[in-house]
């Protein structure tokens, strides 16, 4: 497909080879510790893991285990207190303002509550995924380059929203809104996708549809995915790798097929009921 080629080119520009097998992991996290205040409790207590170029990696665990915090540390929506986060060979924690913005535009993110701008059209929501690459003057007058507009229309077609381009985001159903969120993230031509509970606000059937769509697109564009999800069944169905968190510690890390019942019991051991 056309944008697949574009994507591969974009990746070479950034100095990353497009091969499937890569010796160096895309993301490497070492000894990650997070506490929201100096005196407060530690949410993550020393996490190590790596994500490879073809991973669809799920982070599972009970509520309050630190799943969301872990994902948000990668693009620094949450600031870590200790440890290293090496993404595309750069230490994310050491980036300054401008470097962080250039790094963030290479990271696509999909949110639990979609985080669309409700009073803006579907098209503008998708186009806003390109803002990191759009100059101040262009964005001020909302004049996006022709290739961005073409890509937005193509992506909207891919997620099945070609008939809703000019609707306001709040006119759509939950599943449709998350599809807009997916298109916005893919607008960035991301080199990694972070999913923060992408299906929690959706019903079980639509959850499966959305996850299938994300998986399909991630494979097509060869984007590694780090996905935090509380539905274990859905995680085992979609992901090839599972990281299990419990109370800020990593309790499991391995292929989805290797997951046994007792591993799950251990991850969810703290949970009452």
């Amino acid at each position: 497909m056309r944008h697949e080629r574009n994507f591969a080119e974009g990746r070479e520009e950034n100095g990353l080879p497009a091969e499937r097998e890569r010796p160096v992991p895309v993301l490497e996290v070492r000894n990650l510790k997070v506490s929201y205040s100096a005196s407060g409790p530690q949410i993550l207590k020393g996490i190590d893991f790596a994500v490879d170029g073809d991973d669809f990696c799920a982070v599972i665990g009970p509520s309050g285990a630190g799943k969301s915090t872990l994902i948000r540390c990668v693009n620094r929506l949450v600031e870590a207190s200790d440890g290293d986060i090496i993404l595309f060979g750069q230490d994310v924690r050491k980036l300054n303002g401008g470097e962080l913005r250039r790094m963030r535009r290479r990271i696509g993110m999909i949110f639990q509550e979609f985080n669309l701008v409700n009073r803006m059209s579907v098209m503008d929501n998708v186009l806003s995924g390109r803002l990191g690459y759009t100059g101040a003057f262009r964005s001020l007058f909302k004049v996006f380059p022709r290739e961005d507009i073409e890509r937005a229309l193509e992506l909207l077609e891919r997620v099945g929203l070609q008939d809703h381009v000019d609707k306001r985001a709040d006119e759509l159903s939950g599943g449709q809104r998350q599809r807009v969120g997916i298109a916005r993230a893919l607008m960035q031509k991301p080199e990694i996708l972070l999913l923060d509970e992408p299906t929690s606000a959706l019903d079980p059937k639509i959850s499966r549809d959305v996850m299938r769509l994300i998986k399909e697109l991630a494979r097509e564009f060869r984007v590694p995915v780090l996905c935090n999800i509380h539905d274990v069944q859905l995680a085992l169905e979609t992901c090839n790798r599972i990281i299990g968190l419990q109370d800020g510690y990593k309790k499991f890390d391995g292929p989805a097929e290797g997951m046994r019942k007792q591993d799950l019991d251990e991850i969810y051991a703290m949970e009452v009921l």
Binding site: N75, L77, R101, R102, M103, R104, R105, R106, I107, M109, F111, E113, F114, N115, L116, V117, N118, R119, M120, D124, S128, G129, R130, L131, G132, Y133, T134, A136, S139, L140, G181, R184, Q188, L194
Partner: protein, 280 residues
């Protein structure tokens, strides 16, 4: 915990609950009593004579009827006075416009959730808005008149400062109540601060801001009638001259004009804001 045995050998524990828990409820009650006590003490201290208050109304009526009636309508229909009315409206529009334009960036700085920097911009924005608010518009007029001399410029500046304080506070409150989800999403896309403001914040507050801007103009118009009294230009100056010369029927006519105009401004702004609120 004591379990309730099924065969009734052990008595079931008595379950107790009271809406009023000791320390919290007692403190609340004490505070309420203290406030009421202070209020009644203040009233007693004022030494209010009920008969004088009741007697004041007939006297007020008598004075109005004998000295201020009939209002000198010809005076307010005079060309020079009508010009001053027009200038008052101009001042309120200019002051309102510049005030709102200045208030938007200041409110952005002074909104805790989306400010550019919490250490520098936030206190600066807060201080600017608070400073404009804490000094009354008549005092601003007197200050600007002493610096710039009599006339519309001083009045317009005083109204601008007043509007910065008035609209800035309301804008900042509105900004602090926005949904942070889209802001987070656009930050994660790598958008700059200005882009985040334009694409994630502005769509959420555009309607509310328009309503506040119109309301600001309405309040600025009311303030503009007073600004003239202290030399800031507009119809207030006529009010000052006629009161000082004890031309009571003219004062009555001017006051009536102000009441009618403020009423009209309020009706217009209310109607406009109602129309805009529907666009949400």
């Amino acid at each position: 915990m004591t379990a309730i045995s099924a065969d009734g050998h052990m008595p079931a524990p008595v379950r107790r609950w009271s809406r009023y828990k000791h320390p919290r409820s007692t403190i609340r009650f004490a505070v309420l009593i203290a406030v009421l006590a202070f209020l009644s003490w203040s009233i007693a201290f004022l030494n209010i004579d009920l008969y004088r208050i009741i007697g004041a109304f007939p006297r007020l009526w008598e004075i109005l009827a004998t000295r201020y009636f009939p209002p000198d309508i010809d005076y307010v229909l005079d060309d020079s006075f009508l010009h001053s009315v027009l200038r008052t409206i101009e001042m309120s529009l200019l002051g309102g416009f510049f005030g709102v334009v200045l208030a938007i960036p200041l409110a952005w700085m002074a909104a805790r959730n989306i400010t550019i920097s919490r250490r520098i911009a936030y206190p600066l924005g807060r201080f600017a808005i608070m400073g404009s608010r804490s000094i009354h518009e008549t005092i601003w007029t007197i200050l600007f008149v002493t610096v710039l001399g009599f006339g519309m410029l001083a009045g317009t500046l005083a109204l601008t400062v007043f509007c910065v304080g008035f609209a800035g506070k309301l804008f900042a409150d509105e900004l602090e109540a926005i949904d942070m989800g889209p802001v987070e999403a656009l930050r994660s896309v790598g958008a700059s601060n200005l882009q985040v403001f334009q694409y994630a914040v502005l769509p959420q507050i555009r309607v509310a801001f328009t309503g506040i801007a119109i309301y600001t103009w309405d309040v600025a118009f009311r303030a503009a009638t007073v600004v003239g009294f202290f030399g800031g230009g507009g119809m207030g100056w006529y009010l000052k001259r006629t009161t000082q010369q004890l031309e009571n029927t003219r004062v009555a006519a001017i006051l009536l004009t102000i009441i009618v105009l403020v009423l009209l401004a309020e009706l217009a702004s209310g109607w406009l804001r109602h129309r805009i609120a529907k666009m949400r």
